[in-house]
């Protein structure tokens, strides 16, 4: 520290996406697809009788605990019987939706992380900003998958898409969902095409991608021309983006995750999904930085920067727990049937209860205890243990949000889900590492680079 490095010139450094890395990713992809295929075969051959039995049992349990809601779910179960989509196909759709929400979140957080750094005028993060930028490249792909998936599997994933729920003359007319109809169908008639919903989905991804493109353009232009102009522009874009993101991430969470449990609502849900995405994204950024350092890149990133990243993962694991508990305690205490149903489905039912508790262990207890000391945050070895735990933990968190609402009693965590997760992981890393290898690994003319090189905590 005695000799301050005032020279902020950064040597050209590029990440090389080596053939060995590509081969590893391909193996992960193939293994993932094989497990997925195996899981599909197993799911296809599992009997349907068990399924009916379980559904009716669930319906009875739900009716006992929540009159009005139980009734709604009974017809959901009946409808599931006459609807015709096989449980295994439904399970594939659910898993696709779950994995896509999870990975697209990491992509969005890449942009969000950069925007936070510029809006807060942060200096410490200057050498690592290209990693979240690379994560952002998954965002348009995930957005397209989401829109396509909604059109293919919307009826299976979202109960509210069924037209008869809004028909007063139909036996299964649902007054509660009908009350929410404009949120999905405006300006069209309830039960027709969900214009408002689809427009929101397209608009959010469009806006996010637009800001991503603008910020990326300025970041790369700064490499060539330097000066502070680009930085000021990015700060402006970031501030505007953060305002938009504040609203759109919450609404996205209601649309894409909460509306699966159509009757249920939680005022914490927007933050809950954001908190889960955010800490996953932070853990991903940290893990990539640590691995790049291991491979000999990012020499200027020292334990002070790792400490900041570790603090981020530690702090936002606790933040997520706070949101989780804030949502849980109020519903637990108020004891209103239409709210508690969400937790009854997840805590007390056979295929999901272990996921529910594993969620708290992986996302709160372990990161809290393992990352508590200063040394743990400053050492790559501990970060390499905790970040994967957090990432896997939040995969289960999203599983817990998405699957029980769609699959009812027929869900599970098997080869199908794990295989698809590995497939998504390989594709995601392929896109991210390709994007990372195409630009300078470290910003060349970042105005805060000197500050970051002398970062000391």
């Amino acid at each position: 520290m005695a000799a301050h490095a005032h020279d902020s010139h950064i040597a050209d450094e590029r990440y090389i996406f080596k053939p060995q890395t590509k081969r590893t990713l391909l193996i992960v992809l193939v293994v993932g697809l094989a497990l997925f295929a195996l899981g599909v075969i197993l799911a296809m051959n599992s009997g349907h009788g068990h399924d009916d039995h379980a559904t009716s049992r669930a319906a009875t349990a739900l009716t006992a605990s929540a009159d009005q809601h139980g009734a709604a779910d009974t017809h959901a179960a009946d409808e599931h019987a006459h609807h015709g989509t096989a449980p295994w196909l439904k399970r594939i759709y659910t898993s696709l939706w779950h994995n896509n929400i999870f990975f697209v979140g990491i992509g969005i957080i890449g942009l969000f992380f950069i925007a936070i750094q510029y809006a807060a005028q942060a200096g410490w993060s200057a050498p690592i900003k290209r990693i979240p930028l690379a994560l952002g490249h998954w965002m348009p792909i995930g957005g397209l998958i989401m829109i396509a998936l909604f059109f293919v599997a919307g009826h299976d994933l979202f109960h509210w898409t069924h037209g008869y729920l809004y028909d007063k003359n139909h036996a299964e007319y649902d007054a509660i969902i009908d009350g929410k109809a404009p949120y999905f169908f405006w300006p069209m008639a309830a039960g027709s095409f969900p214009v408002f919903y689809v427009v929101r989905m397209v608009a959010f991804f469009g806006l996010w991608y637009m800001f991503f493109t603008w910020i990326k353009r300025e970041m790369l232009a700064e490499d060539l021309s330097g000066g502070t102009n680009h930085w000021y522009k990015m700060r402006k874009y970031s501030a505007i983006f953060l305002v938009i993101f504040g609203f759109s991430s919450s609404i996205g969470a209601w649309d894409w995750v909460m509306s699966i449990d159509t009757h249920w609502y939680s005022t914490m849900f927007g933050w809950y999904v954001f908190a889960s995405w955010w800490v996953t994204g932070l853990a991903t950024i940290t893990l990539i930085v640590v691995n790049l350092k291991d491979a000999g890149y990012l020499k200027m990133v020292n334990s002070n920067h790792l400490h900041d990243l570790g603090k981020f993962v530690f702090a936002f694991s606790i933040f997520w727990t706070y949101i989780w508990f804030g949502q849980f305690l109020l519903i637990y205490y108020a004891h209103i049937p239409e709210e508690t149903i969400y937790f009854v489905q997840r805590m007390k039912n056979a295929p999901y209860s272990w996921v529910f508790y594993a969620n708290l262990l992986l996302n709160f207890v372990l990161p809290f205890l393992l990352l508590m000391t200063r040394d743990a945050k400053r050492q790559m070895s501990m970060l390499k243990v905790v970040c994967p735990i957090v990432i896997v933990g939040h995969w289960f968190d999203f599983y817990n949000m998405v699957t029980p609402g769609v699959m009812q009693q027929n869900g599970g965590v098997g080869f199908l889900e794990i295989g698809l997760a590995l497939t998504f992981l390989a594709a995601f890393l392929w896109v991210v590492l390709t994007a990372l290898s195409k630009v300078q690994l470290v910003a060349k003319n970042h105005p805060f680079m000197a500050e970051s090189l002398n970062h000391h905590i």
Binding site: M1, A2, F325, L329, Y332, Y333, A334, H335, H456
Partner: protein, 175 residues
């Protein structure tokens, strides 16, 4: 505590000079009593060779004390002394205990840390710290060297201080 009386005080105007001077002076075998700076100088602790504080360990222990006390208190109140039905829940149920447990954990960790810090640093009411040079609260970094602690003569230390970049060197005697 402060048994020594005779100090040599080096005044530095720039933290970069100070950060260079400290290791240079220590290399010459001079023991530095303490350095006072008007603002935190990053890296000063390391060059002075200070060990990291163990305050976090105290904080953790106080926090755990808070956690235990809070849980014992609530279990005793709700489970034994005065059980009450609240919201139709069991007398003893964990979720409603969490906020109180959290608050007491934080409270005891914070208060315990402050108390530990004050005891360890010998800060107590009516105890006035020694002022080596009042400018350490304004614009100068002040390095105190205990003459009783060092074998080198006053003149030798003074010349080393001067050559390391001290703007002035004063003698300070406490009664």
């Amino acid at each position: 505590m402060d048994t020594n009386k005779n100090f040599l005080v080096g005044i530095f105007g720039d933290e970069d000079v100070l950060l260079q001077a400290v290791p240079a002076i220590r290399d010459k075998g001079i023991k530095i009593h303490e350095v006072y700076t008007p603002f935190p100088v990053h890296g000063l602790d390391e060059v002075l060779g200070y060990k990291r504080t163990r305050l976090p360990i105290a904080a953790f222990l106080f926090g755990m004390t808070g956690t235990s006390l809070a849980l014992i208190m609530q279990l005793w109140m709700m489970g034994y002394d005065w059980p009450m039905i609240i919201g139709g829940k069991n007398f003893v149920s964990l979720p409603p205990f969490v906020p109180v447990t959290f608050e007491l954990t934080v409270l005891l960790a914070a208060l315990g840390m402050v108390a530990t810090f004050m005891i360890v640093s010998d800060m107590k009411p009516y105890k006035w710290p020694r002022q080596y040079d009042l400018r350490s609260t304004d614009d100068k970094h002040v390095m105190a060297i205990d003459l009783g602690d060092n074998k080198l003569s006053k003149a030798e230390i003074e010349s080393i201080l001067k050559s390391s970049g001290a703007q002035e060197v004063n003698e300070k005697n406490f009664e």
